[in-house]
Amino acid sequence: MSYTEIETNAFQIVPPAAHIKVLDPPAAKSPIDVTMLNLLEDMQGLDEPNLVVELIDLYLEDAKLNLEKIEAAIVRRDLHQLKQAAHSLKGSSSSLGANQLAGWCHLLEMFESMNDWTKVPKIFVNLQRSAVEACDYLARERDRRS
């Protein structure tokens, strides 16, 4: 992705996932692509009857931690720390199908190599909104199951 593309994305404030080829386009409007959750649900056997609930719990905890790290990194203007936390949140998010959020994380990650702060706060706002939606969705899924 070129710098101009990133800039365009950042200012249009459209969910970036649709523009990033490495990630699947998110399902319409939903913050979570349920394909992954359904697959995991299918894997729940006698051995691991609560796998999905366990994974959602793990995710919520991990997401909270990394969001805090991202916020702290922005406050400290630490691009390296920012990249690491965004990378980690991207990994968790794509594992559970939170592709829109993963897309924002991916975008945020790229600023370290460009050493550019200007777009970061704006992207972070979108990332936060996306994270709240994803976490709410997953929390409902979790409650529905337990």
């Binding site: 490495v22 992954m36 697959l39 995991l40 894997m43 056997g45 051995d47 691991e48 796998l51 366990e54 994974l55 793990l58 995710y59 905890e61 991990d62 990378h87 980690s88 991207k90 990994g91 968790s92 794509s94 594992s95 559970l96 993963a102 991916h106």
Partner: protein
């Protein structure tokens, strides 16, 4: 199959573990690169590892490099898990020693076929390693068997004559025959002249040629019924069957003529000469084979000594020293006849 996963992201790690467990694999989970390397470097490590590229402490490519440095006979199959799907990343990962790549977030069906490919390679590698182990074992056993055979062997590898063991076996038997059939024998001890000089100036392989050449002369000179042996180094022994006491000088002179004619005809690139000592063996001798050999050996040494002195004085060298063992009495311990 036992699979190591190294993934620092807790959610991704748990999903991967659940997926692999579901497929019937046994999973060892690690959260950083050093822990993963420790597992792979331990004894009986998992034969397949799925390694995240970016890990705390050591990253995926570091692990690949270090595992390859270990040089195990059954190296693990290494799959790098990465969000980078550029050609540069691919080249870097493969150069570090990865076997395959998987892009994150991984697709289940892709992971499944990649694991199938991995398990084919791992199985092949294991059966190869087993085969190599079997072959190495077979080689060791063969070497042991050859060593055992060599110990049992009665002949000398270099010359094809009897060795010491072979000589003792057959000579004892021959002396019993001589006693029963009442004929005399002669035990000849021969020692190559100047083997050390040949070895030092022309090398040990020429020294071996000299020993072989002397063996050849002995074979040409003596009868099939005589026992010819190389006792080791440059020493030869012959047990000549069915001779008279008075035949001694003739037998030993003929040997020297054989050596001389061999040298004339073959013109070997080394000096070929032999000092000989011998003893007559009465049919009903009371001396043991060991004692007879000592007597013949002493005669040979006397011959060697006389040949050296003669050489220094420029005289003709004695052909042999003949010692009649049976005439040995306390008053007259030696009767030595030197023949020229």
């Amino acid at each position: 199959m036992r699979i190591l996963i190294a993934e620092d992201n807790p959610v991704a790690r748990r999903v991967l573990k659940a997926t692999l467990t579901q497929w019937g694999h046994e999973v060892v989970s690690t959260v950083d690169g050093q822990a993963a390397l420790d597992v792979l470097a331990a004894t009986d490590p998992p034969l397949l590892a799925i390694l995240d590229w970016e890990l705390p402490k050591l990253d995926g490519t570091d692990i690949c490099r270090k595992v390859r440095e270990l040089g195990s006979s059954t190296p693990p199959y290494l799959i790098l898990l990465t969000a980078r799907n550029s050609r540069e990343a691919l080249v870097e990962g493969l150069a570090a020693g990865a076997d395959d790549f998987l892009t994150k977030p991984f697709d289940q069906s892709e992971l499944q076929v990649r694991l199938q490919a991995a398990s084919r390679i791992v199985d092949l590698q294991q059966s190869l390693a087993t085969r190599v182990r079997d072959l190495e074992q077979a080689i060791v056993e063969r070497q042991r068997a050859e060593e055992a055979l060599r110990l049992l062997s009665l002949t000398d590898d270099l010359t094809g004559l009897l060795n010491r063991r072979g000589f003792f076996n057959l000579a004892e038997h021959q002396l019993k025959m001589a006693r029963r059939q009442d004929y005399g024998s002669m035990l000849v001890y021969g020692d190559l002249d100047g083997l050390k000089a040949i070895n030092d100036s022309l090398g040990h392989s020429v020294g071996s040629d000299a020993i072989s050449a002397m063996a050849e002369v002995l074979r040409l000179n003596f009868r099939d019924s005589d026992l010819l042996a190389r006792m080791g180094g440059d020493e030869f022994v012959v047990l000549v069957a069915n001779v008279q006491c008075t035949d001694g000088p003739a037998v030993l002179n003929r040997l020297q003529r054989s050596v001389e004619s061999y040298v004339r005809e073959v013109a070997p690139p080394f000096r070929l000469a032999i000092s000989t000592g011998a003893t007559y063996v009465e049919p009903d001798t009371t001396l043991s084979l060991d004692e007879l050999i000592v007597i013949a050996d002493q005669a040979m040494y006397e011959c060697k000594r006389q040949r050296r002195t003669s050489a220094e004085l420029g005289e003709k060298l004695p052909n042999y020293v003949l010692h009649s063992a049976e005439l040995r009495t306390p008053e007259q311990p030696h009767e030595i006849i030197a023949g020229r």
